[in-house]
Subunit: 216 residues, 2 copies
Amino acid sequence: MKWNQDDGPPPRGYHHGNLKETLIRAALDLIARKGPSGVTFAEAARFAGVSPAAPYRHFRDRDELLANVALRGFGLFEAALARAWDDGQPEPLAAFERMGRAYLEFARTEPAYYSAMFEAGVPLDDNQELRAAGEGAFGVIRTAAERLVAQLPPQGRPPALMVALHVWAMAHGIASLFGRGDAGRRKVPMSPDELLEAGVLVYLRGLGLPSDPAVT
Amino acid sequence: MKWNQDDGPPPRGYHHGNLKETLIRAALDLIARKGPSGVTFAEAARFAGVSPAAPYRHFRDRDELLANVALRGFGLFEAALARAWDDGQPEPLAAFERMGRAYLEFARTEPAYYSAMFEAGVPLDDNQELRAAGEGAFGVIRTAAERLVAQLPPQGRPPALMVALHVWAMAHGIASLFGRGDAGRRKVPMSPDELLEAGVLVYLRGLGLPSDPAVT
DNA sequence: CGCCGATGTAAATATTTTTAACATGAAATG
DNA sequence: CATTTCATGTTAAAAATATTTACATCGGCG
């Protein structure tokens, strides 16, 4: 009689073989179910089927585990934004709005990553790699803002960095306050997508965009 | 500042006399030093000089303690915003900008309250009182937005609720991403105050404000 | 006075955190 | 091929936390 096979984790011997990965998965699961505060080494170890001491071979403490989750999240986030921006194709304004929707979609479909990235209180200072990953993601927004600003007449052109910060702040504010449909969030009579698109359009109009005369 | 929040440490007997208050203070202190995840009953009890079981007489669990902190925070926050708005005196636009600065000032000077209110993951659903307090604070922004929108010509007038949500999102985004000078936050070449003021001005210009002809 | 509810303590148990000593296996080394 | 090494897990144990239960103190109220 063979008693392993088929379901559950593949039968493992003394070594897990992929524990670091599995612990990050466990942390994501725990964040999704109980928030960043609910992540404990003990429960992550239980999830992975290893002893409570095993996680210490991969992470110094709970914060380092969360930092790794955030790091991975920033990578996925940057990729999602870059894919949506698509180098401004076919037209910067449309691509910009598409990127905004991608921002909120990430926050909605990956709330655990988003929470680890922005709400878990992971300090950026003592983690150069994490800081770089965050700036990489912001770089996508910044590049897009530069392309948008370049469409404005040179005299009244605002700093692209400022525009990028404003848009990031608005997107993050909407995602953070209204973006996760799950429990505990505020209800408003517009979808986050609509709210962000309208907000960005008003903001860009305030900058003088779209300068395209076809628009009202 | 340990034992009581009152004058001096009066040698207390069997009963603390003001434990609930002191535990909330302790929670604020812990949030400020270690984030919302760092709040534990045991340490709050130690802070107050009582036994580890004492907090259970006042709060069902850690979340209820944090919810009380957030509740108190929303009260202070609403008062600060209302004081800055000052019923739109002497002029709505100036009062609106003043309220924006008050928003960021609260996030900067009371990061522990702000964190409990917006980042601790306290569920709004099962706490009607907390939800009401949050809506009370938002009500100040909403009322101010209504006054601002009323200055616009009736035809192109946007929904005041939407304007309030946009401004709230921008203010929260800036406060959350750049607003706390303490460790772990992102550095940008503008102060949060400048960033928010510029962002709101651009946004309002996009709405058609200021309609005052004296402005460019 | 004597009870009674609110508030705090003590003690006990379960869980978590964290370290230290030991075990396993796979890859490198000779 | 034998052995050594090292990353990766396990056990065991100490300290801290969480949480409940039974008991203690105090103030107020009949």
